[in-house]
Subunit: 439 residues, 2 copies
Amino acid sequence: MNTFTVPRGTSDILPDATPLWEALEFLARKICKSYGYREIRTPIFEDVNLFKRSLGATTDIVNKQLLELVSSQREKPAESGSNGDRIFLNEYALRPEGTAAVVRSYLENSLDKIEPLSKLFYIGPMFRGERPQKGRLRQFHQIGVEAIGPNSSSPLLDAEVITLAMHLLKELGVKEPQLKINSLGSKEDKARISTWLRGELAKQKERLCPECQARFERNVFRVLDCKNESCKKVVASLVKDLPLSTPSQEYFAQVQAALNSVKVPFEVSPHLVRGLDYYTHTVFEITAAGELGSQDAVGAGGRYNGLVHELGGNPKVSYGAIGFALGIERILLAIGESSVPLSGVAVYIMAMKEEYQPLAFLVMQLLRKSGISADMSFIGGSMKSQMGKADKAGARFSLIIGEDEVKNNSIAVKNMETSTQESVALGGIVEHLIKVLSS
Amino acid sequence: MNTFTVPRGTSDILPDATPLWEALEFLARKICKSYGYREIRTPIFEDVNLFKRSLGATTDIVNKQLLELVSSQREKPAESGSNGDRIFLNEYALRPEGTAAVVRSYLENSLDKIEPLSKLFYIGPMFRGERPQKGRLRQFHQIGVEAIGPNSSSPLLDAEVITLAMHLLKELGVKEPQLKINSLGSKEDKARISTWLRGELAKQKERLCPECQARFERNVFRVLDCKNESCKKVVASLVKDLPLSTPSQEYFAQVQAALNSVKVPFEVSPHLVRGLDYYTHTVFEITAAGELGSQDAVGAGGRYNGLVHELGGNPKVSYGAIGFALGIERILLAIGESSVPLSGVAVYIMAMKEEYQPLAFLVMQLLRKSGISADMSFIGGSMKSQMGKADKAGARFSLIIGEDEVKNNSIAVKNMETSTQESVALGGIVEHLIKVLSS
């Protein structure tokens, strides 16, 4: 009999680890809400063309890493006249990131008609068909925010989004997250700088790595943050600051002033870029020390005003949009924890004979109805073995139902911390436990 | 420019609806924990053979409704020597239900070595490539529990699991959930009853619907709960009670006694079955009135001791396993709610001139750092328009920063409920709001 294993690049979150995830998600929701962001949940899969349009049809994510869906129904049944099932053939893909779906939902549901600025957050799994390695998974989880609205580009909003990312990371336990920011300028700036960069880099093209030579035409900005040593040298000698227009410089200066005013430390990194065409103005990346190794980014984001039009937004409206995503698995690596102690139940009930188990079950259920968490051993066993289970369950009190207790219509209540024990009338057991548990 | 839409059979959960989902999940977690169940999270997709083995290779779910994964990488790159990407070709599928993955994880992680009885719950999306209709979605969400352990079959545990399902539904707002229970008996009982049923039904086979005639050999039990009128008549005349062995009858009687002891009302329905081979003993289904129409089941479950061996459990161990799943979308239909009012922020800050916005941003950030939720209009606008946004955001207080305030180093604080307004020194604004918000 062969057994089954969890798919490569994914993992089970076991009961010892889920309380940490739950606490982290609870805290993230609370903080996002305190900044006026509201949660949105989009489906696990989307039209594959949404990702082709948003990420670019020639990107690695789209060409190599999307996980597309096919129906297990291989042939159309003869009696079916419709092609309702055909739409699953290579037209849907698991979402590799959250932004495209949020913008799709923003437009489809006309959220701009409901509010002038939609401040949205999401928490959930993302998927890439990558070769698994540390920090790179096939199913991973992100906390992300997007702020989208007509005419909503504002340096203060950029500063808010960045501040929220840093606030989240600190509250979630990441020590000393390092923030790097940069501005790519306006769309016009980017076009001008691309031409200039291509001209300059062309003179030393043979010193660039093969990947940079390949993306030279398509997206010359990516050369700026290539990790290859030779590319780094070329870039360092060439680019001190990106030659932004005056309005773009002023916008970026205001972002920095706002970050300074609320004491968020940052470093301006002129070589920091986001690869996709639609990024303009502010981009940022946050790294952390810890067990992350070379994959030390715990989050990144930027302004992507252009994407809303790309996905079908009204061409007459000038949309602003900025967001980020934080990687939950990377945060856990950075804080060096993956599980917290068992929270357990308040009360554990022990039946000393099998025939007392129905009474134990009844008492347990009365406690639960009163909001007191409780458990019992359904398997039974000796006093010692059941006491061991009560300990393991983290119970504050154990209730013992033995021969004497049944005879006297009582229950022995043991305080697991002090090891003191008292006898309580069966009819008053719920009241008694409410009292001792709240004291 | 074409726009994108949410995939058929899935839906966005928009910001007005997420608070209800969040509240529902919070309550479900709390109740499951109070019964001693702990959360487990398995991946969104699993080895397709896990579902073939657990659900049966000939079932509709496996043959028609699984959504399998393929990599977007269509050809192997010439330089790659490994076949690491090939494993995505038709070998993984989105999970159509939660039980198989939980048992897989239980065995893979040897949870039986950690605790004698693993009481687990999960909350999350499930997927079926069905033709979408009301109450049947391609992505839907379930709350489920599984109690698994060696020698853990106990009528009280069956009663606990059923009680928990009913407790959850009631606390989540389902009015008068209706519980039907039945026992399919032991594995031996089932084999004997199958032979008997086949013999009896063979005499009237032509009165059965085509589907029942087809599944007659494979899984004759499914004929018992066929909705076809003619099948119903045949079954009604034939089966009053399933002819269980004496030990199976006693087991079922104890389940009923335990449910009676904790006042969980139920109806014994001898025609209620669960279609899969590995179900034995207790099975149950819970329906609700409301807008559910013919899809009125909000949850179902049963004992599936046989599955643990089927998925590779140690053949020398006698595993017990029982669980259920509740459908969140169906619960929402049953309670007739899909959204709750905006929770909003506590404080809304208004800058009366654009040049005061950086000060508004700073005050907002000071409030947030003190744990007070706050927002501002990044877009600006008139006093009236910003006051409208403060109202819409549900703010209890609005802070107004105008010419007088900046001159006097103060902020006007307006109580949005009473419409009273007072001037507070800028340096004391956080303390002031902490005080008035907590009173």
